[in-house]
């Protein structure tokens, strides 16, 4: 079964792996940022971008 990486427990583990200690208030704020960010990525992964290479900015529309 795929692990739910948007849970508080998973985020806590990520912090522990980096040896980062936060007070409760900071944990809640960071977790809020993390949860919003997880939502963005799940949306981005649904997109079809198969024809595109990373971070291109200049295109020739005639090609």
């Amino acid at each position: 079964m795929k692990k739910d990486i948007s849970t508080k427990e998973y985020f806590k583990q990520l912090l522990e792996n980096k040896n980062i200690k936060l007070c409760d208030e900071d944990f809640d704020q960071s977790y809020l940022s993390y949860r919003n960010f997880r939502k963005s990525y799940s949306d981005l992964l649904k997109e079809d971008y198969s024809e595109f290479e990373p971070r291109q900015r200049i295109f020739d529309l005639n090609e």
């Binding site: 985020f11 990520l14 971070r55 900015r57």
Partner: protein
């Protein structure tokens, strides 16, 4: 002379020097005295170069003549992400408080080569990672239009220094709007050039895919003068683009041939009503001047913000990898936002990066029909400092909603003043052009400012 020199343009100062109405040395003394007098209130400067600026002013004064660079003797503030040899580059952080630069940044060298006078380093959001301009690790930077209001960020001190007449030009960096947002909130002009047009060598990174360096000034005309000096290919910046020698030289400019698109979706949804009215008035003005103005929809644009953050945050975390063990030294606002990017997989980062290309391709198609997009710079009224501590307030989250789109695409984008609201706070409008069509964006902004006075409004100091 002494009281009005602080808001002179580059051309006006240059003329005063050439006509010998004032020397660069006298002008420098006036600016330094002003900084010493009012900086304690606004906290725009973190470090004031008193001695160095004195000798720079002497050199500038000796070199000024009709053939010298227009930037000779012009007073500059540098965001404290920009290296000046033997000076601390703190990024507004306790973590880098002893970080002494061993070399000048490319832009610092450009100003020195042109005998400009660098007055000091300006305040900023810690590591340039924030939109409101608040940083609990540095003295609180305040908006000159209302001392209780935020200045906008992250180039807060640069905007405040120009707005309060402590320098003529300031340099900011812009990864999600950090030049244009504080410019809008402080009533000045801020230009983000096309990606790669200004070298970032010697400027601390926030996100290598999105970072831009740009000028902040009283007018678009002054921004253009600065761009002529700081732009160009730099082999030592691997993201630098080769541009033609005449990239910023005069181009043919016929208003009737210029197509302005106003994207009504996203950029006008849920915005403050007074901002909407102000931008609508500006749209009428452009129309009256003879520009072709067309309302359009850009359906995909609402995806831009999340792609912008999706690329930016893992890159920022990667840059901060070695600092994170000092998490207690970060400001709460920054660490709490930064940690939101923990645990991003390579698949996720690459998906954001490829989505970025797809987004940019779609935007290129839109821009093939228009010269510029006209939008508000920010959607919300200027928040108060007291309400701005959390990284997750509505204002903090929505402030960069419009500007970040153009960091993703790398398009040239400028914020210019478009009036004041009923609380006497500035409103900014944004013009964003085709990538590598920087001169046209500046020309349109200059034309607007030649036919309006909003950029001449100054706060009571």
């Amino acid at each position: 002379m002494s009281s009005d020199i602080f808001y002179k343009s580059i051309s006006q100062l240059n003329k005063l020097y050439i006509d010998k109405e004032i020397s660069v040395i006298e002008a420098r003394d006036l600016f330094i005295n002003r900084i010493n007098k009012i900086n304690n209130t606004y906290n725009a400067f973190l470090d004031i170069f008193d001695e160095e600026s004195k000798s720079d002013a002497v050199n500038a004064n000796n070199s000024i003549d009709k053939n010298s660079s227009k930037l000779t003797g012009i007073f500059i503030g540098l965001k404290d992400l920009v290296d000046v040899k033997d000076k601390v580059t703190s990024a507004g952080s306790k973590i880098l408080r002893n970080n002494i630069a061993t070399k000048d940044a490319k832009v610092t060298k450009d100003f020195n080569k042109n005998n400009s006078v660098i007055l000091g380093k300006t305040n900023l959001v810690e590591f340039a990672f924030g939109t409101l301009g608040i940083n609990s690790s540095t003295p609180t930077c305040r908006n000159p239009w209302n001392l209780e209001a935020v200045p906008g960020g992250s180039s807060s001190g640069s905007a405040v220094a120009v707005s309060s007449g402590m320098c003529t030009i300031a340099i900011g960096t812009d990864t999600g709007g950090s030049v244009r947002m504080p410019a809008a909130l402080c009533g000045i002009t801020g230009f983000k050039p096309s990606y790669g047009v200004v070298s970032r060598r010697g400027v601390l990174d926030l996100s290598w895919s999105m970072d831009h360096v740009g000028p902040m000034a009283r007018s678009a005309e002054d921004c253009l003068e600065v761009m002529k000096v700081i732009s160009g290919f730099d082999i030592n910046d691997k993201y630098s683009y080769k541009i033609a020698n005449d990239f910023f030289e005069n181009k043919e400019f016929i208003r009737q041939d210029i197509k302005i698109a106003v994207p009504r979706n996203y950029f006008f949804d849920d915005i403050d009503l007074e901002i909407k009215e102000s931008i609508n008035s500006a749209i009428d003005k452009f129309s009256d001047l003879g520009y072709q103005v067309e309302e359009i929809d850009i359906p995909f644009v609402e995806d831009g913000r999340k792609i912008n953050v999706g690329v930016l945050l893992p890159e920022a975390l990667s840059i901060h990898k070695n600092y994170l063990e000092h998490s207690n030294l970060y400001t709460k606002t920054v660490i709490n936002r930064l940690l939101g990017g923990l645990g991003v997989s390579s698949d996720e980062y690459i998906s954001a990066s490829r989505n970025m290309s797809k987004f940019n391709y779609e935007m290129t198609k839109v821009m093939s029909n228009y010269d510029v997009l006209l939008t508000p710079t920010v959607p919300v009224r200027t928040p108060l400092i007291n309400n701005s501590e959390s990284p997750n307030t509505i204002e903090a989250n929505s402030m960069g909603k419009f500007t970040g789109i153009f960091n993703l695409t790398g398009q040239p984008s400028i914020s210019i003043p478009s009036g004041l609201n009923n609380e006497n706070m500035p409103i900014g409008l944004m013009l964003s052009g085709k990538i590598m069509d920087d001169r046209k964006v500046l020309d349109i902004a200059i034309d607007f400012q030649n036919h309006s006075d909003f950029h001449k409004l100054i706060p009571k100091i």
